[in-house]
Amino acid sequence: MRRLALVVLLGAALAATTVPVWGQAGTLRMAITQNEGALNPYTYVTGYPGWNLMTLVYEPLFTPDADNIPRPWLVRRFTTSADGKTWSFTLHPNLKWHDGRPFTADDIKFTYEYVRRNTHARWTPQVRNIESIETAGPTALTIKLSAASSGFLAQPLADLPILPRHLWESVAEPRRFNDVVGSGPYRVAEMREGQFYRLVANDTYFAGRPKVRELILPIIRDATVTFTALKAAEIDTTVRPLSPELVAEFEKAGGIKVVRGAGYASTLLQFNMEHAILRDLKLRQAIANAINTRLMVRLLLLGYGVVGSPGYVHPDSPFYNPEVTFTASKAKAVQLLNEAGYVDRDRDGIRDAPDGTPLRFTLLTLAGNPIRVRGADLIRTWLRDVGIDARVLVQEDASIIAQVWPDFDVCKGRKFDMAVFGWSAPVMNRTTNLRDLFHSDCRFGTINIGGYRNTVVDQLGVDLAATVDVAKQKRILFDMQKVIAADVPIHVLFYQDGIYAYRTDKHTAWVYQKGQGIVNKLSFVDPPKP
């Protein structure tokens, strides 16, 4: 009898608590995929969404708008000298830190000098060009560069978040500092490592009240569980892009809206340009022709993607050169191989180089990314059809990096044949991206993991980095794309569209930032009035 009573009591207790405790108006539950440290500039983890969320708390001087163009934010007015070396800023008055202290030009000067002293992979290289910083009062600041730099506006001005001097000036080990006092539209109210973050709106934010009262960011590790939770309304949205196979179902679901836009993250076939056989241009051109990227987009992305452009730049980017196009043709692949002397001499079904070496390569692919693994499989099949043997090796991140980009240092060389690789969206936005990707000097071509060498591209890259005029930048980038498309150091397969789903009963004023998605500052707060 007592046992029965206990069971009934437990059952009643459970039933009473099935009503969710949160869910009042103004609270948005946005699931993230992994821990983001203390959400401050030295401990946040991922570029996306880590940087996007961290900059809701700590702010850079400028903010990229929906077209990725940096717009003044903390800065009210700014001027640049004719030679591009001197930048002068006037801040908005009455900016405040979350603890009430005033935000001044001193904090900016402090931050820029702090990240130079305390190495951070993202911030330190961005300020390397700065010669001096001078403040003239709490709202006036002048930065002098040692040379004009095309990327300065984007990085660091629209990238490096400002730290409060009064809290950070005595910090010698920034990575162990978990303070979260920032100046942004949101404050970190609660942080449970590995479980969730709770951000609340900063009601005295200078640009106006943020659009959502409270942001709860639970960490959900599994993709399927994330979307199950979205469907079941246990979360309102997620930073995770919607998988192609779920799009139809979610578009039909009630209470959920699906937004789709250009995705700037690229998936490409990376060649080792120092490989004895793969350094032959005709062979690379043949391989590129054998891969049916149109079919890849249909099969792997269910059509939600854009075929890769041979000059790397996404067709939606303002710097895309429309004259640089590529159409794959299996016939052309066979023709090129025959012309270059790759014939099956020993009748084993695999073509051999003129010196007898068979065309057998390994194709590295990242585990845990089913689209890339399947893509590698398709590439293997198509290459087999034209007589090239590409063995697919699926490995985890660190093992692949050890072969393709040892220690993330291009100067350390490489040891691989081909790899299905990819770069994240911000690379597409970086003005100097084609230099970073293709310059032969490993100090400038910091992501030239194939070891590509071309003196024309090198010179164009150097010019690009020093050009501040946007029209001139465009011309240089157009030229670079032409050369790269002809040389085929990489073969871009596709750009996956950004597809994001959110529940419509909570927050709908999402702004899609081109190439990147809906998790950005503009979705939560309107730009300040000048």
């Binding site: 207790a13 459970l14 608590t17 099935t18 969710p20 405790v21 949160w22 609270t27 539950r29 992994q34 821990n35 440290g37 030295y42 401990t43 983890v45 570029g47 190495t119 951070h120 992979a121 993202r122 330190t124 290289p125 162990r176 500092f177 609660e190 449970r192 490592e193 590995g194 479980q195 709770r198 709860i216 960011l217 639970p218 959900i220 590790r221 599994d222 399927t224 569980v225 199950t228 939770a229 469907k231 079941a232 246990e234 985890e396 991140d397 660190a398 093992s399 990096i401 050890a402 072969q403 980009w405 220690d407 993330f408 240092d409 291009v410 100067c411 994240s424 970073d436 910091t446 992501i447």
Partner: protein
């Protein structure tokens, strides 16, 4: 008596020494370096001297043997160090996660052992009957399903479908609960991962118990007990089950040590913040200190469980008592 402990003690110290060395060496033998996880995703843009600076900061520029000595020195002081990726003291990180793991995996182990043993005993008792064949079939089923699949099914039916339980997490994110409400919240979040883990652990115990029971039931003393005229239930409980429990107890104690290693797959599916997931991510991130610290905790835990088993066994099985 002391000679026993001295002998065993020396053995355990040797095991500890070997595992401590392996804990240090194995992560460093994996290809790849912790670089991106020290520096972040844009590490490609760092200059050589900045990279060197980062490496020096973490002591990674030292020769291996010196890093090993530093590691040993820290360990002797009880200092587990700081995570490369998170910059937080590892003791704190493990301390946050261990209670969740102990709760989930420990409770699952206890429940699975109790339920499995009970079912196994009954099945053997009614060997060949419908109960026996039924439970055997179900046990085989749960033995073969992958844990993540089972977890997903439970989520789909009980969480997303019937909405009896939440889909993810250990607590309701962002809710400020206290007292009874907090206990219930945690219990609701624990229910499905616990069910998943228990269901896949029961078959092991069930099968061991069942076969052990069958062996025991064939023994002479069972026939004697029956011949003495004892009731069936008494024979079952006092004579058969007690003796058949020995292998189950052994397995239980062995598994006790491994609770500290968590249940990575279940923790991932349910986003339950346990040690298993911490360990898995540390491997991917080449976070050497976290790997070393966690492996050490697991090693100590397993050794402790072994010592416990060594001490407890003479009480469970009188035949093992030394003269």
């Amino acid at each position: 008596m002391w000679r026993f402990f001295a002998g065993r003690g020396a053995q355990y110290l040797l095991v500890l020494g070997l595992t401590v060395t392996l804990n240090f060496a194995l992560p460093r033998m994996m290809p790849g370096s912790p670089m991106v996880f020290l520096a972040g995703e844009d590490v490609g843009f760092l200059e050589p001297q900045q990279r060197a600076q980062l490496y020096a900061l973490y002591g990674l520029d030292q020769p291996q043997w010196r890093q090993f000595l530093t590691y040993l020195g820290n360990l002797a002081r009880g200092e587990l160090g700081y995570s490369f990726q998170r910059g937080r003291p590892i003791a704190a990180m493990i301390g946050e996660r261990l209670p969740y793991t102990l709760l989930l995996v420990g409770l699952a182990l206890v429940l699975a052992t109790l339920i499995g043993a009970a079912l196994g005993a009954l099945a053997a008792w009614r060997r060949g009957g419908s109960f026996d064949l039924g439970t055997l079939g179900v046990a085989m089923l749960f033995e073969s399903v992958p844990s993540f699949w089972l977890g997903m099914i439970l989520i789909a039916v009980f969480a997303a479908g019937l909405k009896w339980f939440p889909i993810f997490g250990a607590v309701t994110a962002g809710a400020a609960l206290s007292g009874w409400a907090l206990v219930v919240d945690r219990a609701r979040h624990l229910a499905l991962p616990l069910a998943t883990l228990t269901l896949i652990t029961i078959p092991g115990t069930y099968l061991i118990m069942r076969y052990s029971m069958l062996a025991v039931l064939g023994e002479q003393y069972i026939a004697t007990a029956r011949a003495k005229g004892l009731a069936e239930r008494v024979v079952l409980r006092r004579h058969a089950v007690r003796n058949a429990l020995l292998p189950v107890a052994t397995v239980f104690m062995l598994n006790l040590g491994f609770i500290a290693s968590g249940a990575t797959v279940t923790e991932t599916v349910f986003s339950y913040p346990g040690i298993g997931r911490l360990l898995y991510e540390a491997v991917l991130n080449r976070d050497y200190p976290v790997l070393q610290g966690t492996f050490f905790i697991i090693t100590v835990s397993v050794i402790a469980a072994n010592i416990l088993a060594d001490l407890a066994y003479p009480f469970i099985d009188p035949r093992v008592r030394r003269r």
